[in-house]
Symmetry: none
Subunit: 194 residues, 2 copies
Amino acid sequence: MKRTKRERQTALKESINENPFVTDEELSAEFDVSVQTIRLDRMELSIPELRERIKHVAVRTFEDEVKSLPIDEVIGEIIDIELDEKAISIFDVKPEHVFQRNQIARGHHLFAQANSLAVAIMNEELALTVKSELQFLRPVKAGQRIVAKATVIDRQPEKNRAFVKVVSTVDQVTVFIGTFEMYRMTEQSEGEAG
Amino acid sequence: MKRTKRERQTALKESINENPFVTDEELSAEFDVSVQTIRLDRMELSIPELRERIKHVAVRTFEDEVKSLPIDEVIGEIIDIELDEKAISIFDVKPEHVFQRNQIARGHHLFAQANSLAVAIMNEELALTVKSELQFLRPVKAGQRIVAKATVIDRQPEKNRAFVKVVSTVDQVTVFIGTFEMYRMTEQSEGEAG
DNA sequence: CCGCTATTAGCACTTGGTACTAATATCAGT
DNA sequence: ACTGATATTAGTACCAAGTGCTAATAGCGG
């Protein structure tokens, strides 16, 4: 079931995007063309080779692992972080994040972005959320980009607590505000909150 | 400044841990021994080769990225519902829902289960969350089953509002409490909250 | 000096490629 | 049907960063 070059290349792009760990040989089998064709396709699409792809994924994680929580556990992409001070992440709302009915983003995605940013900002091996108050001010729709800004507003080191305020905006309009009481988890005490 | 084999191997472990992207050749220069020695060291310490190390980092990231939040309309399975009154759902915590580090479920999954149950309980075409207060009382780990019970505790029909309380338990122990102020969205007014 | 561990060297082989050249296939237009 | 252009396939040499293996050498303790 061969298709045109154009179609194959589109599919190829997608395929590699979905699974960057695929080799040219596997792709050649998948699309029923020679390995060389796959290579030519990659060149034209400027898709790097397997190892480079893997490396990129890995480097991204590793570099961003700043200190506290790995970025790979964050919902949304962190674009700026000052540990224990403030952090910013962006999250692009896609069709899978909204109610089919009215295209409005489901609340837990806004929460997830804000909450994981609150976790990331903590300058600790691991932090957990203890309490939280949320306000969903305006609906967010598919296609919009949510910018979440987190600020540490209070610290209680003796209690292993910190308070983080997250304000999420779309086009400078505030859509969500959340405050999070965070627990700094030390090595031995794995005992509070989820 | 050569040291003993033992010391070198300890340092080697650390060095690779800090920067998994280092090659044997670079390490050989760093420790002023031959590449073969580095290889022997890696064998003895069972540290995989560069590419495998990178791959591991990448796989970790990639899998986590794919995870995030499920697409399903309702997080968890609703096992009982009385519209406008109460509802129960269960959610099995799987490895993909927890922090790798300590196996504790990430907060947004508890929130997602509770919030989507609060949405479901509303006897309306569609409801949105306006405000919410959460308490994460105990950590939940992979393998546990969360039972969330939602109750409508107050109704304000004139304001299109209802208040829902959700209590989540694992083996009869309360792990999470959330209260949700819900907005009943009528056909024309698609205007509040996310 | 023997024995032992540690270290170094060298070679063949592996994966998943790049870079390049050359042959063939396919199709469109005249 | 023939020409050209594009697309595809084949093949070679080469590379990085290894593994696996054998063998030689160094250093030291008794």
